[in-house]
């Protein structure tokens, strides 16, 4: 009697749980897994009458077409350079910011600083690029005037090949550095207070405390996030680059993501665009695995 009641109960229990999770499963299967199945489009012709996967098998022809295209080297170089600059400058910034914020002793001050540095994260990409356009404008922008004042008035920050990457990376840091520091602040808040007491008793200065207590506490988080960011080495954000593009900076601002959009959505060469997209994903994966393996050997911290 007891077990039977338990069994019946278990069935009712699970039936309710299944009802609660089913909508999520269906949505994920349809919108995430069907496109994954559709990746084979990269190896096939797109046949409008036969649907997503009905076209003729073409093997690696579309990959070949991409690699042979005259844009290939430019696209790869631009994508790599933008990602690399983002990682080199953008990756340490939130760590440093978290270490700074963590040193603020007065609670009100800390709160104010945190509220401030998180704020830009909520601005939309379009508004951000709009802000860049009005603020950096060489004739009318506030930065433009500043540049004129220090004798750099001839540089157009928004429309020259030399300044695209710095503007892109620095504005990204401005917008997301605070937000990205949250995870490091969280890691710092888990440090055992006894460690700080011990450091103080040993006569450590605050610099030394940062160097020997705070930074070591952050290392695991840093490694994990670094592996993840290396896994995105070829995934520059589409939206911001797309919006910052103009005919003058296009030689350095055309990246794989924007090219896929133009080839695929704008000019409807679906198979070629899928192949380029897949090529991008595969390279990301290679980087992710390579970094993960290196990190596993060197530091025994790894993602998987």
């Amino acid at each position: 009697m007891q077990t039977r009641k338990g069994l019946v109960h278990a069935v009712t229990r699970d039936y309710q749980l299944w009802i609660m999770i089913l909508p999520a499963i269906i949505v994920i299967l349809i919108f995430n897994y069907i496109p994954m199945y559709g990746i084979q489009l990269a190896f096939r012709d797109y046949d409008f009458s036969k649907g997503l996967t009905g076209g003729e098998w073409r093997g690696l022809a579309y990959f070949q077409q991409f690699i042979d295209s005259y844009l290939f080297t430019d696209l790869m170089r631009n994508t790599f350079l933008i990602s690399l600059a983002s990682i080199v400058l953008g990756f340490p910034a939130p760590i440093i910011l978290a270490l700074i914020l963590n040193q603020i002793r007065r609670k009100k001050m800390k709160q104010l600083m945190q509220t401030t540095v998180y704020l830009p994260h909520f601005i939309s990409v379009i508004v951000l690029v709009g802000m860049l356009n009005v603020l950096l404008s060489a004739e009318t922008g506030v930065v433009g005037h500043l540049m004129k004042a220090v004798g750099l008035g001839h540089i157009n920050l928004l429309a020259s090949t030399g300044t695209f990457i710095p503007v892109y990376v620095l504005s990204d840091i401005w917008q997301h550095c605070g937000w990205n520091s949250i995870i490091y602040l969280a890691a710092l808040s888990t440090v055992d207070p006894q460690l700080y007491d011990a450091a103080r008793i040993d006569g450590a200065s605050r610099w030394q405390t940062i160097r020997f207590v705070d930074i070591p506490a952050l290392v695991p988080t840093i490694i994990i996030l670094f592996i993840l960011s290396m896994g995105n080495i070829l995934s520059t954000g589409f939206e911001k680059i797309f919006l910052m593009q103009n005919s003058l900076n296009l030689p350095v601002s055309e990246v794989i993501a924007t090219y896929v959009y133009k080839i695929g959505i704008v000019s409807s060469q679906f198979s070629l665009a899928s192949a380029i997209g897949l090529f991008n994903t595969v390279i990301n994966f290679i980087f992710l695995f390579a970094m993960n393996t290196i990190s596993k050997r060197v530091s025994e911290t790894s993602l998987f």
Binding site: A24, G203, S205
Partner: protein
């Protein structure tokens, strides 16, 4: 005098900084007080042996340097983040000629609301606003309806399939079909040029799902559920009557994330929407801010209207930035107290 107080307070207080952020609201000054008197240079009797005393004195100098550097750094960071935002606010209601010639720096000059008047007359902005508000509210509601129950289920240890389902979900964080197959799927499902493309696809964000699941796991003790089951409580009742009311902090955080995501979403409309009546605010903003279609009538540049347009275009742009961003920035402070907590939960365990 001032410097002594500052530096020794810093030294005495060093150990409490970390715990203070999270737990007690005890003001630091009180804790630091006694030690301040004990170690301050003015009271040599209370000092430890002389070598240490020298160490401490040197340390105080260092402390001071540290404090000053920290203060300067914080001021710099604060200004660099706030100034662009502040400038846009004052530029939006200052005389546009003065702004364009660089005369407006710190305070608004020759206050003019021309930009805002133009914005309020512009029907495109209102259509965009209406659409975005609808997509945001309805979309966030659907997000929550799909995400929270699923997160609850995945937090139940007795649910056998949870590992498999979690795996299926997490895979999508690292791997996806890419733009083109997704686009063709939306076309096949006839979702392009409908409002549904904003609402249904990708309505479950796996990252937020993990945050919610972790929160349910840590905030709903197993005993609580057992007790509720004893009282004949089903999963539905437990979820609505116990789990949700106990999770207000997490719900507001995830709600805010989804909300901001919808409000700022421009990609969806760029790819899937061709119908002007369905365009969200962000696309209208792109036309105004980036494609320079500032005036509703389509007056661009060139001719007499051109000079006029050029002169006022920037003021309208400043105004549009404010008008479009204000709603999000207004919710943010109210929700922030929850929101840091929520981020912490997600980031430590997620």
């Amino acid at each position: 005098m001032d410097s002594t107080r500052m530096s020794s307070k810093g030294a005495g207080n060093g150990s409490h900084g970390i715990s203070s952020g999270a737990s007690s609201g005890t003001p630091h000054i009180h804790r630091a007080g006694p030690r301040l008197n004990g170690t301050g240079p003015g009271l040599p009797g209370a000092l430890p042996p002389s070598s240490k005393a020298r160490g401490r004195a040197r340390l105080n100098g260092k402390e001071l340097a540290f404090k000053i550097t920290l203060g300067l750094l914080c001021t710099f960071i604060f200004l660099i983040i706030i100034y662009p935002l502040y400038f846009i606010v004052i530029a939006s209601f200052s005389d546009s000629t003065l702004v364009a010639t660089g005369k407006v720096w710190l305070v608004p000059k020759n206050i003019s609301f021309f930009g805002y008047q133009e914005i309020f007359k512009d029907m495109r902005i209102w259509t965009g606003y209406r659409n975005t508000v609808f997509y945001t509210l309805f979309g966030t509601l659907v997000n929550m309806l799909f995400t929270l129950p699923a997160a609850y289920v995945l937090s139940r240890r007795e649910f056998r399939a949870r590992k498999v389902i979690m795996f299926i979900f997490v895979v999508t964080m690292f791997f996806n079909g890419g733009l083109i197959p997704t686009y063709l799927l939306m076309k096949d499902l006839h979702l392009t040029n409908t409002i549904w493309v904003f609402i249904i696809p990708f309505c479950v964000n796996i990252f937020y799902l993990i945050i919610a699941r972790t929160f349910f796991e840590s905030s709903l003790p197993q005993e609580l559920h057992e007790a509720a089951v004893m009282d004949g409580c089903s999963h539905f009742t437990f979820f609505f009557k116990v789990a949700l009311p106990l999770s207000k902090a997490m719900i507001s955080v995830i709600g805010l994330y989804y909300l901001v995501g919808h409000w700022n979403d421009f990609f969806t409309a760029l790819i899937y929407i061709r119908n002007n009546n369905l365009q969200p605010l962000q696309i209208i903003l792109r036309d105004i801010l980036l494609s320079n279609q500032v005036f509703a009538g389509g007056a661009g540049t060139g001719g007499d209207a051109g000079g006029y347009a050029q002169r006022y275009a920037d003021q309208i742009k400043y105004g549009v930035i404010i008008v479009s961003t204000l709603p999000i920035l207004m919710i943010y402070p109210f929700i922030q107290k929850y929101f840091e907590k929520g981020v912490m939960i997600g980031s430590i365990k997620g």
